[in-house]
Symmetry: C2
Subunit: 315 residues, 2 copies
């Protein structure tokens, strides 16, 4: 479930006029901007952008960029882009900072449905005039490259069929690979980048049955280099992406292990219209405190207000 | 240009009735079958199939399969399937015989446009309940697997932009790879499976400028194992697929280097409505004899008549 609270009916014309007032003159009215844009769905935001352009011959996104600043500006910018175009931008930023941001690429490749990933890849062509796998391949080397290119290029079967004996065989391959890393790497990448998600989840379950511990736990302990960390993220994203995002949000709010506001913004902006409510519920279940509470304590200013609005806080 | 000669107007109803007559009773009327189906485009054939099913509660394809035999039956069967479904079938047959048929996979991956390849991959999901790259990966190993999975998984950028300095740099990588095979393999696969076709052709041209010989000639001399043969096919298919098909047709007609009627059928059936006319013209230019002449001499029976019809021979 989504967290975004948007009215069923809105007037793009009135919204555009109100936003014009909010950005005109000395200093923007951030409160008004949040009150409007923090309560409009993707379709409504694109309507507002179009009407604003017609009325004032000005790109609303560019105007907001110039009026706002810091994390708030970045969050509003990401929120205002058309979602697949935004994802193509986020993927490109991550590729340009691949040494630290390889997990963002893993997320896009493994959380998206097969058809969603194609839509992203097509949007990437359109925005960057190159393919996503091309840029990933050109900016990485070795095992990390093999894994990322495999995940990004995948167009998995999306059906619910499970081959139980295959799940067992491949659970064992994954288990063996933990002991003998170089030999089995090719097989691990093959399994994770080509099998359907349903089949992979069956494989992960079989792993747990056979070896008494979840594969993510086991891999995480072993995750020492980028390749193994990315592998662990891939397994987590395929196995249960909401759990993955819950942990990521928690780490980002408390700035743990390299996560920061960019990760927080990314997850909130990309999931607010999809399943952020479920992620919020997991957050509460796991931390015994609401994410709104932690955001209120750890963040500040307009950025905090905007994030809380997207998290579904009633005004 | 296509070779298929199909009427602008036809009656699916009359065609279905005529075909019913042709398959009823003792022994099919192959001449009538060729006269109708050899002159109907993909859309018309699917209309006939639908009307035939409505009129006689029978799948026309299955009936034809049971009435006909040998290469003729196989050709009619491939001709009658919906084209993307047929390609998914042909890809699956090739994967099941990957040790000899890996070039068919290279063809599908490298001749198709990026969007056509996605359509094929989607049809493969639908028909086989697995992904194409999944089946390729599970049935191959080593360098051949790396190459084939890379090619099949690609979703290349389809624009016409060329980066000239990149073309030069990568022409040199490809050249170096000929001397030092193991070290550079990863780079060769990266280049061939991720760059846009326009960019790759610029790279191949730069190779020729720099090294005085075409890359396909050079690679062909070196092509000793499956990986290098597949690599050579990939370069040929990307560089000029019509030339590639011309050579393949010639080898198939004269049963050279392992090619046979299956290759002949595949190329004729899949290209008759696309660019078989251009391939025929190349054939004549290269061999100073028409492909119809060679087919007439080397093939026989209804199979010969059907292939000649699809090649555009007037009745």
């Amino acid at each position: 479930m989504a967290t975004l609270i948007a009215p069923a009916n809105h007037s793009p014309h009135e919204d555009a006029e109100a936003l014009r007032k909010a950005v005109k003159g000395w200093g923007a009215n951030e409160k008004a901007i949040i009150a409007i844009l923090g309560h409009r769905n993707a379709h409504q935001r694109q309507q507002i952008r179009r009407v604003y352009d017609e009325l004032y011959q000005e790109d609303l996104i560019k105007r907001l960029e110039s009026e706002l600043s810091g994390h708030f500006e970045r969050a509003v910018y990401r929120w205002m882009l058309e979602p697949t175009d935004r994802d193509a931008l986020l993927a490109n930023i991550a590729i340009r900072h691949i040494k630290t941001d390889y997990n963002v690429i893993v997320e896009f490749a493994c959380v998206s449905s097969p058809e969603e990933l194609l839509v992203l890849r097509r949007a990437y062509h359109h925005r960057h005039k190159r393919s996503m796998e091309e840029d990933v391949a050109a900016s990485t080397t070795g095992p990390l490259r093999e894994l990322l290119v495999g995940l990004v290029s995948s167009f998995r079967y999306d059906g619910n069929e499970i081959n139980a004996s295959l799940a067992e065989a491949e659970a064992n391959i994954l288990h063996d690979a933990l002991r003998d890393k170089t030999e089995k790497r090719e097989e691990v990448i093959r399994i994770l980048s080509t099998r359907s998600k349903t089949q992979l989840i069956a494989t992960f379950n079989r792993y747990k049955d056979l070896h008494g511990t979840s594969i993510t736990k086991k891999w995480l302990e072993e995750a020492s280099d980028e390749y193994h960390k990315a592998l662990n993220s891939a397994i987590s994203c395929i196995d249960d992406h909401k759990k993955y995002f819950e942990k990521l949000l928690h780490n980002a709010i408390f700035k743990k292990v390299g996560e920061d506001e960019d990760a927080l913004t990314r997850v909130v902006v990309t999931r607010a219209e999809r399943d952020l409510k479920d992620i919020k519920d997991l957050y509460y279940k796991r931390n015994s405190v609401s994410i709104e509470h932690d955001v209120s304590n750890e963040l500040s200013g307009d950025y905090k207000k905007f994030i809380l609005t997207l998290l579904g806080k009633e005004n």
